[in-house]
């Protein structure tokens, strides 16, 4: 796509992608380890549980799961795009600045503390993981800023250091934990899409949608930012504010995604690259389309994870790694000239 973008063409493309996403979501909701007949679903829920299991499975189990996968995939892909733009590094992914180890630490702290939660309420692991992620990102930002005014290298280094340190703490905690606690934590860390309640789903959907829309508003300035900080300033863009806003929003939606589903890898790294290859680097287009494609990708991956070894299931992170890894290598090989990270 080499035309300069217009509002109309962008609108058309986004609509088209949304339609594709809806189709993927519907198809995947119909697939699973149990056969579900659509006709029975439409007769509505039975008066007591167990009467219309097709309805229960489709609407109670599969639909929330598919919606969650779409949300998490969208959040991770969107966040990946933003971080790659801010850090001016095509190898950045949403976890690069400490979110992964922060969330992991929160999760293992929740498991170890044995926090009792209202049995029918939300899970403490999600809350702890979210808080852990946010605090860590904030810490990394502070360190990065303190060692020189928003210099990208310092931010990256701070992220690497914090990641390493927290990973060591996680290792220590794992070594003193009970085996079932260890197992729980490891499973959580691998990245899983599970069935969440409507309230949790609703709140997260609102947050992720709001964050994505906010980032869309910043996407034009991300274009300018990618020219370099001095250039951006000379074009009238408030680089500091743009970086803070974009970074905060990206970290926020990633923290929410991680608290819902653990650390699902590769989506935030590979999807932006793939979409950039097809649609070009204009972030006004790249961001929304990456979000949509990321959602579709994760929905498909999760469906595969559910089906491939039924009735057991694989963690969705396994599928994304197996699919994403080779894809990334192919990307790299074929377009190594295009993906240059000269500064």
């Amino acid at each position: 796509m080499t035309q300069v973008l217009t509002a109309k063409s962008l609108g058309i493309r986004i609509t088209f992608c949304l339609a594709a996403l809806a189709v993927v979501m519907c198809l995947c909701a119909l697939m699973g380890s149990q056969k579900v007949s659509l006709r029975k679903v439409f007769t509505g829920p039975g008066s007591s549980p167990g009467e219309n299991i097709d309805y229960e499975i489709l609407v109670g189990i599969r639909l929330p799961r598919v919606i969650l996968a779409a949300l998490v995939g969208a959040a991770l892909a969107c966040s990946g795009v933003v971080l790659q733009a801010i850090l001016r590094n095509p190898l950045a992914d949403p976890y690069i600045l400490g979110i992964s180890s922060g969330a992991g630490l929160g999760a293992i702290a929740a498991v170890l503390s044995g926090a009792t939660w209202s049995f029918w309420g939300g899970s403490p692991i999600a809350a702890f993981a979210f808080v852990g992620a946010i605090i860590t990102v904030w810490l990394v930002w502070l360190i990065g800023r303190a060692t020189g005014k928003s210099q990208i290298t310092n931010l990256l280094l701070a992220g690497v250091v914090i990641n390493a340190f927290l990973s060591a703490v996680i290792m220590f905690l794992t070594s003193i934990a009970r085996s079932d606690q260890v197992h729980s934590t490891i499973f959580w860390l691998m990245g899983n899409i599970t069935e969440k309640g409507p309230s949790a789903l609703g709140v997260s959907a609102g947050c992720i949608l709001a964050g994505t829309v906010g980032l869309f508003g910043v996407s034009h300035r991300l274009n300018i930012l990618s020219l370099g900080e001095q250039e951006a300033k000379s074009l009238g863009v408030d680089t500091a504010k743009t970086q803070i806003v974009a970074f905060a929003l990206a970290a926020f939606i990633t923290a929410i995604a991680v608290s819902l589903s653990g650390l699902v890898g590769f989506v935030g790294l590979v999807v932006p690259h793939g979409v950039r290859l097809v649609c070009g680097p204009d972030h006004r287009q790249l961001l929304p389309i990456s979000a949509i494609i990321g959602g579709a990708f994760l929905v498909a991956a999760d469906t595969l994870a559910r089906i491939i070894v039924a009735p057991a299931q694989l963690p969705v992170g396994v599928i994304t790694a197996i699919a994403g890894g080779p894809f990334f290598l192919v990307l790299l090989a074929r377009h190594s000239r295009k993906i240059s990270w000269l500064k």
Partner: protein, 284 residues
């Protein structure tokens, strides 16, 4: 003629080297072409960054169109000043048209979708710099000269009263050097823009510019240029023929030059130890 840029007693220094610019004062009149020259480290780029608002003077003030530079929001300032820097390659694969359209950012809304005026400004700029032919090519596939023209196109599309350039021709061949300077001169004469360009090529500077600001990189207080004798001044400003003389050049750059004349204008050829001297000067 009014001054569009007024620099009053500006001082600036980097920590810990100490001050680079000390109490510099000069004016740039509307629609003139000023060249900033001087040895490396004299503070040329620093001065440019001060003029475009990237750096804050540690003493003194800078006025743009009779208002303090600090009083402008970044957006308003970008509507007044366009900057062309030396080299950059965008990390992402933007095309020429996209990069030039980014120049319209100071006039656009949040989403940066351009209107008719913006598109016209962009196409005019592409025409003027003769870059319309590869408008759809990614920036990475351009040669150095083509890239430089695109940067100039971007600055032109930004449609500002002032253009600041940092060595716009440092990596270019003769033909492109002349082309760029012709472009700038045309912009000055036909569109009334004020051009301030840092340049290493004193001959080109002398040919095209109305005034030269020569930064010597020395510390002592300012003085107006005298005649011939050693002046421990930190900068000089004036017409090319007043500023550039063999003695001055020797003093500031530490290089012997051969002076020739083309019509009324002087030109200078540097003479190093192994230079082929013809006419003046004895080899050491």
């Amino acid at each position: 003629m009014s001054s569009i840029i007024e620099v009053k007693n500006v001082s600036f220094g980097y920590f810990p080297q100490g001050s680079i610019l000390q109490e510099v004062s000069f004016d740039v009149k509307v629609g003139t072409f000023l060249s900033i020259a001087g040895p490396n480290g004299a503070g040329k780029t620093t001065l440019l960054n001060l003029l475009c608002g990237l750096l804050r003077p540690q003493a003194g003030s800078i006025m743009i169109e009779a208002a303090r530079i600090q009083s402008y929001s970044p957006r308003r300032l970008a509507q007044k000043i366009a900057v062309v820097r030396q080299e950059f390659v965008p990390v992402f694969d933007f095309t020429v048209a996209e990069v030039v359209s980014m120049a319209r950012t100071p006039y656009l809304g949040t989403f940066g979708f351009d209107g008719k005026i913006d598109r016209e400004a962009v196409s005019q700029a592409l025409e003027a710099t003769d870059t319309a032919q590869f408008a759809m090519r990614p920036m990475k596939n351009l040669s150095g000269g083509e890239r430089q023209r695109v940067f100039i196109a971007r600055a032109l599309a930004q449609n500002t009263a002032i253009m600041l350039l940092d060595e716009p021709t440092s990596f270019l061949d003769l033909r492109h050097q002349v082309h760029i300077y012709d472009l700038l001169k045309a912009a000055q004469l036909e569109k009334g823009k004020t051009i301030v360009a840092i340049t290493h090529d004193i001959n080109l500077a002398a040919q095209y510019c109305d005034e030269i600001l020569l930064l010597t990189g020395r510390r002592p207080a300012k003085q107006r240029p005298g005649n011939g004798t050693e002046n421990p001044a930190s900068y000089f400003i004036g017409k090319a023929k007043d500023i550039f003389s063999p003695a001055q050049i020797q003093d500031v750059f530490g290089v012997r030059v051969f002076t020739g004349k083309v019509g009324n204008e002087n030109f200078f050829i540097p003479l190093g130890r192994f230079a082929k001297d013809s006419g003046q000067a004895n080899s050491s």
